[in-house]
């Protein structure tokens, strides 16, 4: 079952996730700058930032426990493990037997849990604020995330992400159904919340009244900050590839061949750039929402994914 070629697939997947994640972040920043009629930093700026942080020393509060040191590594590892379960360029993931979409949701939750724990560890007031806000948002994001992918899982009859991706891509255009669209819109709203973008969180500011993710990682510096930042970018890439390869997996390679993989990678890049552009449009055209209005937005998403499942039941007449 576990051959040399599947080992190759896994290693290639890890490399792709780590290499593409900062690029996606840079591209979104560039598109955002375009809409705001600015020049903006180059698309490779996140690489330079991470390289710079890697060369610096960490300054750590003397009050922190081991959790503060372990949390970035645990979060990074959890996100990367989730990445091994999500099809990116090839639909047949070798680790597909090890976990399905529920494992992905909980691996992301594990990463979030440790980041929130570390934010409390240093005992700064901003950290605690960020941690509680993050958990507040997460309590609404997680059920909606599960429900929206369940709508698709119901359609193909499996919760295995590789299987879903294969099944939807073999269905072709007939896969586009009411529940497909509803679940996609729901997951897009979730993606905004998960990647910390504007109606929910603002990735570009450290204003204490609004920040969520930035408040949590305020105590980190140097190499640890580099790992945390890279982990956040990877999470963003994974959420985008969930959107791209669960709902529109057309073009993904189904078996190992150099040409197929090259095409799949190119298609994947185009898909995530389109999604990133959509995200940038949302971010430039809306204002940051008040924290206590966020449940409204997230319950829209929850309701849409619920509607997706209900309309699946109605249309199929189960």
């Amino acid at each position: 079952m576990f051959t040399l070629s599947s080992l190759g697939i896994v290693i290639f997947q890890v490399i792709i996730i780590i290499v593409l994640a900062p690029l996606l972040s840079g591209i979104i920043k560039k598109i955002k700058a375009f809409f705001q009629i600015r020049k903006g930093p180059g698309i490779f700026q996140p690489y330079y930032d991470i390289a710079k942080l890697m060369r610096k020393d960490s300054v750590v509060s003397e009050n922190v426990s081991w959790i503060f040191h372990a949390a970035p590594v645990i979060s990074f590892a959890a996100v990367l493990t989730a990445g091994l379960l999500i099809p990116i360029y090839i639909s047949d993931m070798p680790f597909g037997f090890a976990g399905d979409l529920i494992a992905v949701v909980y691996l992301l939750a594990l990463a979030r849990f440790f980041t929130a724990l570390a934010s409390l560890d240093a005992g700064s007031s901003f950290g605690g604020m960020g941690g509680s806000r993050e958990m507040f948002v997460a309590s609404m994001v997680e059920p909606a995330l599960m429900l929206s992918i369940f709508a698709i899982a119901l359609n193909v009859g499996s919760t295995n992400l590789s299987f879903i991706s294969q099944a939807v891509s073999s269905m072709g255009l007939s896969a586009v159904s009411p529940y497909h669209i509803l679940a996609f819109v729901a997951l897009f709203i979730i993606a905004i919340a998960e990647t910390g973008r504007i109606p929910v969180d603002n990735p570009a500011t450290h204003l204490e009244l609004t920040m969520i993710h930035e408040a949590m990682i305020l105590e980190y510096s140097g190499k640890q900050l580099a790992i945390v930042e890279l982990g956040a970018m990877m999470k963003q890439l994974l959420v985008f590839s969930l959107l791209a390869n669960i709902f529109f997996p057309w073009g993904i390679a189904s078996e190992i061949s150099a040409a197929g993989i090259a095409v799949a990678l190119a298609v994947f890049l185009i898909k995530i750039i389109i999604l990133g552009a959509g995200m940038a449009i949302v971010e430039t055209s809306t204002a940051k929402w008040r924290l206590f209005r966020l449940p409204d937005l997230l319950s829209v998403s929850l309701m849409l994914s619920f509607l997706a499942i209900v309309s699946f039941i109605i249309v199929r007449g189960v």
């Binding site: 009411p178 449940p295 319950s299 199929r316």
Partner: protein
């Protein structure tokens, strides 16, 4: 009556989008975005009527589709925006039930309407989606009427109910006779005008269109 139209993929997509636009009205706190979502809903409804007309080839359904587009998707939203601008009302709507609970109640209403429709055993499963969507539009419209304070939102609620009835009629019988349809359109238009004038009067007498205030006596 053949069931091909309402089973087709594009029709199901349109009906799902109509449901989404209803939830957009339920989920927004701004008057303008409610009116915009209503316009979108009516536009989608006109598309549904257009497809039914195309597949059955009846000219009077074409006329109905065109009238939906002209009156419900263009004229009525314009009247709404005119009223909002003229009486300089505060742009946020006031609620008896908050946004998140209203959305959840909306979802429950959709499920209830589905089960009600399913218990009527005379339709095939293809048009049951359209019919339960129409039923949920009616019940969500009613819910909007009782859970919003502004008189404008109550006007919008009754129009959503009317849209639901229209969707139900067109999905069950491919539209009522043209004369009846024309009568309904005329009724809706006159109703909107009268309600608009009423809102102007309420606003002039009470200096608010918050229906909560109508309970207080003014001598």
């Amino acid at each position: 009556m053949e069931e091909i139209v309402f089973g087709s993929g594009i029709m199901q997509l349109l009906i799902a989008l109509i449901l989404v636009s209803t939830f957009m009205i339920l989920g927004s706190t701004r008057l303008y975005s409610c009116v915009r979502a209503f316009g979108m809903q009516s536009f989608l409804l006109a598309c549904v009527a257009g497809i039914v007309a195309f597949s059955t080839g009846k000219t009077d359904i074409y006329i109905v589709a065109f009238l939906t587009l002209a009156i419900k998707a263009a004229l009525i939203p314009y009247i709404f925006i005119y009223i909002i601008r003229e009486i300089k009302v505060k742009r946020e709507i006031d609620l008896y039930v908050n946004i998140s609970p209203s959305l959840i109640i909306g979802g429950i209403l959709v499920v209830i309407s589905y089960y009600l429709i399913r218990s009527i055993n005379l339709i095939t499963e293809l048009s049951s989606f359209a019919l339960s969507a129409s039923m949920s539009l009616v019940s969500i419209g009613l819910f909007i009427m009782i859970s919003r304070k502004k008189a404008i939102m109550q006007m919008l609620g009754i129009l959503i109910m009317e849209n639901g009835l229209f969707l139900g009629a067109i999905s069950l019988t491919y539209g009522m006779p043209l004369l009846v349809e024309l009568g309904i359109f005329f009724d809706v238009l006159i109703g909107v005008l009268i309600m608009g004038i009423l809102i102007f009067r309420i606003n002039r007498t009470f200096e608010t269109i918050d229906t909560d205030m109508l309970k207080t006596l003014i001598g």
